[in-house]
């Protein structure tokens, strides 16, 4: 018999796993690190599920947890974790889709972690208001940063 918390957790992960995975992929160097980050995000969601206000936007909350976890853990030494079963390996698979994703990954990874998070949210079609909520900066700051990021990406592609 599952508890309410477990059911709630399962529903959240089912609904938002793609979002969590996308963030983890963009902040990892290999599949193993994706797994580490993904597990850590799940643990933080599990720990924070009781304090989550149901009236708040769940997607914003998921993005905030995922990005905070990835940005903070990326700098830390990797912990040894149990392997999760994964069917795909974007870093090694040789199909056309994986190549496309690697191109995206290479571009995004030229940016600093904070800028990387902002551009990722923008690519995920999040509004400026939502990006400002998730990242904890003003809407104006989001638009200025995005402009700079686009400029930086432009310079990189010209090079």
């Amino acid at each position: 018999m599952k508890t309410d918390k477990e059911r709630k957790f399962e529903n959240i992960v089912k609904k938002h796993k793609t979002t969590i995975y996308t963030v983890c992929y963009m902040f990892s160097k290999d599949n193993e690190q994706v797994q580490d980050l993904f597990q850590e995000v799940l643990i933080r969601i599990w720990q924070g599920i009781d304090s989550f206000d149901n009236k708040a936007n769940i997607k914003t909350w998921i993005y905030r947890i995922s990005l905070n976890t990835c940005i903070s853990l990326q700098r830390k030494k990797r912990k040894k974790t149990l392997p999760l079963d994964m069917d795909i390996n974007i870093f090694e698979d040789d199909d056309e889709d994986s190549k496309q994703i690697r191109t995206l990954y290479d571009r995004i990874n030229l940016l600093q972690p904070f800028d990387k998070a902002i551009v990722l949210l923008w690519l995920e079609n999040q509004s400026y208001e939502d990006i400002s909520l998730i990242m904890g900066i003003s809407v104006k700051n989001v638009s200025v940063r995005l402009l700079r990021i686009k400029e930086k990406l432009k310079t990189i592609s010209n090079d």
Partner: protein, 202 residues
Amino acid sequence: MEKEDKMMNDELMQMKKQIQILHNKLKKQQIVNEKIFRNSVKNSMKIFNDMDKYSLVVAFILLVLCMSVSYFLFDKILYSLIFFLFVICMETFVYFYSRKEFKTNDIMTNDIVELSKKILHMKKIQDKFLAIDIFLAIVFGFWFLYDWVNGLGHFFKVNVYGGVFGLVVGLALWWFGYRRQQKILKNVITQLEQITKGANQI
């Protein structure tokens, strides 16, 4: 300049398409959130061990109390000593067994089927102890009253009321603790069953 901007826009659009490709790939991905469940098992077993530790301390205090009372009652409550000694031995056994078999690292890494078997075994041991405990507690209850009647003479009434009250409260607390521990073990077993059956795939 206009051409450059168009190129940039094309590139950003391409990035948006690429992220969509990533989404499509990830939608097919299944997650076995085993670690989460193992963490939950670990936390449950910690509560279980803590409860056992507190029971052990309470049983020890009661034993000391019994010994001091028996000094005044001219060794009339020998049976109480036997009862509490048994409780202490039982709690000590469960505590150390649990500590030995369910180390935090083992819960996180051991084979999940083996872990389930161990917890099931632990639940059975607790059930056996309960059967012995109930038998001893009934005999103890009667003996306890008998000892007090003989040992206290004219203070009989007041002390028997106190003794019976203490006994009822003690048994209620003990029953509550036992039920709670059994519930923890039952939940843990259910969770482990879900993991082994792959029911927790998201």
